[in-house]
Symmetry: C2
Subunit: 179 residues, 2 copies
């Protein structure tokens, strides 16, 4: 009888971002998203039901805990050395073990990347961002947390799939695929 290698699922990573026109996702790392439209919220909640798990940073988890705790959440943090479970949340240090392999071992097929800026950047850099939904609310913030917090400038080319107006106040939703 031969050994058989376990066949792992291929996880699909889909990121969701709500942003101002000028690419800011929050005033600071500790502030919420009370400025986003209810139409974006509805779109997002409806889509989220189809996901096996969400990936968030520690700040995003704290700010959105009430919404996230009902879901399988992987909370990225440098504060733990090994995996720590608390309710349905798993605190995970991606510098210590492979996030991709962990999600595969859980058999997660669809994972939602919910930010913040460091998490988006981490996922993009590590080929864990297959699609990107960007909701642009009609504001300019001029300061605040930028959408991606990369250390180095790099040109990632994406493919626009669709654009959609979500409401009369001028919220628009863009959908991109990563090549």
């Amino acid at each position: 009888m031969g050994m058989e290698k376990q066949k792992l699922v291929k996880t699909r990573f889909i990121a969701f971002v709500a942003t101002s026109i000028d690419g800011r996702i929050a005033e600071s790392g500790k502030s919420g998203t009370d400025w986003t439209s209810k139409e974006d919220w509805n779109f997002f909640q409806r889509l989220l039901k189809k996901f096996d798990a969400v990936v968030v940073g520690h700040n995003t988890f704290r700010v959105a805990k009430d919404h996230i705790k009902r879901r399988n959440a992987i909370v990225l943090t440098s504060k733990v050395h090994k995996i720590k479970t608390k309710g349905r949340a798993v605190f995970f240090n991606p510098e210590k073990s492979s996030l991709k392999r962990f999600l595969q071992s859980k058999n997660y097929k669809k994972v939602a990347i919910l930010g913040g800026a460091k998490v988006y950047d981490f996922c993009l850099r590590n080929k864990m961002l297959d699609e990107l939904y960007v909701t642009i609310e009609p504001y300019v913030f001029t300061a605040g947390v930028p959408m991606f917090s990369g250390v180095k400038f790099k040109k990632y080319k994406l493919l626009l799939q669709s654009t959609k107006k979500l409401n009369k106040s001028g919220t628009i939703l863009l959908h991109y695929k990563n090549q």
Copy 2:
């Protein structure tokens, strides 16, 4: 015979921005915009013909000098103490005199704000931004110069006028009005 106050024109300020999906307008203050599409360039050049003058920062002027020198350009800079003219360019320190009044005295009715980040922010803060055209090229940069370089977070609400797909690569053009 009574004294008559000179009637000044009301200048209309329209800003043009080319940005990545994540709200970055350049790698650094000294880099150009070789990543923008030719469709955006065509749109922009066609519209620019209808303007009386352009307002740019010193870096933007240096990078785009060849295109700007044929136009009436007001170059914002802290390096001059009084107005300095060089060809069709006027070097102007907006901390020393009122830019708005200067443009009115020139009888400019339509002025294009071409950036960079500090100039966009200055104009928005000083009520010199009536409309905003944002071209989103299908890239994520993760780092670089953000669209507006404000010191303080502030929520400016704009009104979406239209969205348009400029080409097959997924460049889109958003047009906003400031309230």
